[in-house]
Symmetry: D2
């Protein structure tokens, strides 16, 4: 499976508003140059203008288990879809959901034609999530998120163990890994361990030169492909 790199913009000021659009354009340039599949996950308010501005797949950072109707302040699948989103992150460690709601949200996303990336912090949780049949599962040990210490190098066994556990219950789901990924080496290690992509945030968004770091990521991908 061709690897996928998803850049989570979180609520960093560096990737808010017009800067979300600008960063997405840089990411699109790298994707075109390297022919590596990249995606972006801006904040809700920025989804529409990012989707209008670039041809990358745009993900939401969250989706609520709600239907159209009286749900003030919630994120509706149809709203993401109409804004141009291609998918959504679910259950990120900074926005965790109840087990029950994860199943509902995956269903709502699928009905709306949105891809799903469910995050999980341990191998067992990743396998549990995989049983609910999302499109992708992302392993992210919370203690490494934003640490600059890459899961694929600090805790390689979590990645390989997760891949094994997930594969024993779901042969189709794409496995991403994240947390602390900040160099091409980290990406290369992740793919070697069986991941089929990475979820990255501060490693790109807070980088002095996001474009060159991402270029480094993509060259690591090319070494594998």
């Amino acid at each position: 499976m061709e690897p996928f790199i998803l850049v989570n913009f979180k609520t960093y000021l560096e990737s808010t508003g017009i800067r979300a659009v600008e960063l997405s354009r840089k990411i699109e340039q790298v994707s075109k140059k390297t022919n590596v599949k990249l995606g972006v996950a801006p904040q809700f308010c920025d989804i529409e203008r990012v989707a209008r501005s670039v041809s990358l797949p745009v993900f939401s950072q969250h989706l609520d288990p709600v239907t159209p109707g009286a749900f003030t302040g919630h994120v509706l699948a149809a709203s993401l879809k109409e804004a141009g989103a291609a998918g959504t992150i679910i259950n990120h460690s900074e926005r965790m959901l109840r087990l029950h709601d994860i199943e509902i949200v995956i269903g709502k996303a699928r009905e709306a034609g949105l891809m799903t990336v469910v995050c999980a912090g341990t191998a067992a949780l990743a396998a549990s999530a995989a049983l609910l049949e999302p499109d992708m599962v992302a392993i992210e040990p919370p203690e490494l998120i934003g640490s600059g210490r890459a899961v694929s190098k600090e805790k390689p066994e979590i990645v390989s163990d997760s891949v094994a556990k997930i594969r024993s219950v779901n042969g189709k789901v794409r496995v991403l890994c994240g947390a602390g990924i900040s160099s091409g080496e980290d990406v290369y290690a992740a793919l070697k361990l069986g991941a089929e992509g990475v979820l990255v945030a501060s490693g790109i968004v807070k980088a002095a030169d996001p474009e060159s770091v991402l270029m480094d990521f993509c060259q690591a991908v090319r070494r594998i492909m």
Copy 2:
């Protein structure tokens, strides 16, 4: 104080995506024709394109108590501001906050230059909210929301009691009332009871002809002004 009517789009399909823009344009027309101050509160993903399309004040339906940073899936004040929002609803009965977070969110909104409308379901809660010094407080008895039975006619004492309780602790906050408002008569009754505006949702969004219902609302406002 010149009355203010805020239309909450909730997650109704009738007010999602391009239909949020279209409905906002109709609302803008009514505002221009009647010279009554109107505002709209679309879903997060629609704030930016609505704000780009109309000159009405655009409100978010919710704001999270977060700072710029690692808060995946949350709503940041700076993101609302950059999208063109003029303010935000807080603590709607469909998206209630902890007391502690209401104070934080009001502070975050103020710092970002966003107006705040804090919702409350009872007179005592409305006064509690008013002590935290938002720009507006909206009384909405949850049992009447979406009922078609207007708070200003079904439970006028809640409105007058709330106005009195709020005024005893805060002389400046604007008092809105909501829940079940669906005709000019309901609006007139609300203003007569001391409200300085209304919060309305299904009464406009789900109306067969939103423009004509809103025109009826605005004529009621003109009778008072």
Copy 3:
């Protein structure tokens, strides 16, 4: 595996305080007469005196993902254990947990020597829960809870499908089923479908004669054993 019937006392007044003790004594009598394995799950405040009064295994209705320390108002595993609890229900549909916390709570319970029953509303969620290796999983479709319409008769395929899905990922976990169980026939149907016990609440607690209904349950169990 010898079937197990767990009676959830919820927050019914009929099973609060001294009535929790009295009901537990009746349940103990039936267990002794029929030699069927029964357990009770009273409210937190009643666990200690119920555990002191009867020899049945006593379960908590919930456990929080906390450690000893500064967690005012939370339920600590060591506190349940010292009160005499033998185990705990986790993720009941009326007290659902985040996926992440389910894994933590199962671990905390195990360390404290408490058995775990994780509830789930669908077959897929039950299998997800089973992957986290609790002692028992209970299938309870939320729409049938308290309905008087038994899951084992109304939706037998949910029970058999859950048993199959759970068994494909975990060969050891005990599978209970619940929701609407109110007669020996319902219990018999559940066991025939592969369940190894039932979780019951209003069917016993709110019965005019709890003892005789439970006797009926136990006779159904004896027919299978």
Copy 4:
């Protein structure tokens, strides 16, 4: 008003199970010796046996906004009352509630004959809480909780400002203060600033000799009375 000292046992192991009873007995001795009004707030599972063992007023650490019925895993007012509780802490910074639920919980407690202590972290929040008419409000700046640095000495203006703000909206509510209180001097300072009691946790529970620290607290109270 005669000062009141409430000792919150949190989920400390030092105050769990039989040690909750033992600590309560020590606290009762100090209360008898000094004639100062003391109370204890053990964990849910310990309320009944503590209430049976001592004549001190026993508080719960939390109460849920639920009615008798299908609320598995929640804390019911009637359950606390039957276990012998005299009151409950509400909205502790480690177990915060939505504004809406604070009003409901105060009402449920009052109906059940339970006293209420609502916690708040700032002067404005304390006044908001006081408007909902609990029996007591406790000011506890979260940043000082468990710090060993007493609010009454580190941030005396928070205490005096809170007392003033609370008094401007509610003349009857008892004002406690907490966070970091660990000596008689801290208690004396708090009472001098207008507080009518203190809420203390680690300062007593984790003390090498809880009895002697509490004796020091009570002597400070006697200096004022």
